[in-house]
Assembly symmetry: C2
Homo-oligomer: 280 residues x 2
Amino acid sequence: MKEIKNPKTLQREMERLRRSGRTLGFVPTMGALHEGHLSLVRRARRENDVVVVSLFVNPLQFGPKEDFSRYPRSLGEDRRALRQEKVDYLFRPLAPSFYLSGHQTFVEARELSRGLCGRFRPGHFRGVATVVTKLFNLVMPHRAYFGAKDYQQARIVQALVRDLNFNLEIKVLPTLRDRDGLALSSRNRYLSSRERKRALAIPRALAWARDEVRKGQRSLPSLKQGILRRLRASKVRIDYVEFVEPDDLTPVRGLKAPFLIAVAGWVGKTRLIDNAIMWP
Amino acid sequence: MKEIKNPKTLQREMERLRRSGRTLGFVPTMGALHEGHLSLVRRARRENDVVVVSLFVNPLQFGPKEDFSRYPRSLGEDRRALRQEKVDYLFRPLAPSFYLSGHQTFVEARELSRGLCGRFRPGHFRGVATVVTKLFNLVMPHRAYFGAKDYQQARIVQALVRDLNFNLEIKVLPTLRDRDGLALSSRNRYLSSRERKRALAIPRALAWARDEVRKGQRSLPSLKQGILRRLRASKVRIDYVEFVEPDDLTPVRGLKAPFLIAVAGWVGKTRLIDNAIMWP
């Protein structure tokens, strides 16, 4: 695995590979890798000649009071895991050479960034769209891989690729979960074992809702109340529980067509998100 | 000259050319071509294996009360001129296949878009940055050519390329002028012969300022008053006369280092812009 820090060096190398006719698969990450990330890497490995992983804790997508400085970093382990998956390139830029002094160009997906996490993390998705645009221009991949746990992010990236005519394909892979059901997330490392037990209320509330829908429940207020009750019982401080269209993330009224339940909440000082698509 | 309307078709063709090792030069235009455009095309012809010109009157960069619908169109002549310059590809997308329904992703250069024309045409430079991003992703050129008449636009595109890591080089070529001194612009076609005479006050005021600076004039207020007086004498309705840093377009205080004088004003219903760099 070749490690590159300099953006221009990476871009030249990618240009050379692309010209040689090799296909490039790309997995952007912020490190602190878990099996969710590695599932993306494995899929990229199967579908492309060359696999590039970026590791960059993007300051632009953190709010001033958010966890940028304490975001988990585990470079040694990440490196070992990526080597084991036979990754070809690890791109690990330093912030000052990535956002040059005087940086002022930003990318924004308007409607998709408004609701859900966008309401609670102003500027977050502008940070995401901007970093992803930059990374796509540097790596010039044929395919890029994202996890469905960050559903809103994945939709925004898909819109960005379509709207800005990026010459690549986005693949969104299913959320991976621990045995207890908790969605894999780098931020799970923040949780004490007690908090972790409380956090399980999130996947359990979603699983309960799925069961209810299966049994024929079609009342949005009942489902929502049931979820809220379960989260509150575990003292999850709720940012939102929303029922939305899977495509444009606008609120659904009825529960006839497939819909997404998206949840964000705090367990102690840790913000967790999860979601599930329901097929009534 | 091959004419392509479909964005995907163009992108596939460009990808093929790039992979074959050919260099691509790109000149984005809104048509109604004049010698200024053609000077860009000629330079692109000299510096690249393949020359691509786009012709698209971009609705996104026009305000609701601006001249989008009456913007001059002269496809037949444009085509002949481009053929004569041995252009290889004319990309001429239709708006609905260029901005797909539900388009919501926009690119914005913050500080550079604020002053000068940005103040008078809100949203204009977001439209420019967005269309340029899309065109760069579709054409994937090695070099792209812009005219210095639209100085603020050129600076924004340069910032965009740097900030978003586009793998290409921007070339900004000098403003061309008619014999009478008027900067070439597609919008000059709007001018009656009387209006055209009045419009000459703009280049003449800039030429006067240049002379003054040459003679040692270092008072900004005197220069500005002199320019304003000259424009008003010809009944140019002034949007702005600004003295700014050539790099970041912020107002200059003293006149020691090189500075840019940028002018925008109306002659009848026609908005004209011009600028000149001064070397004290």
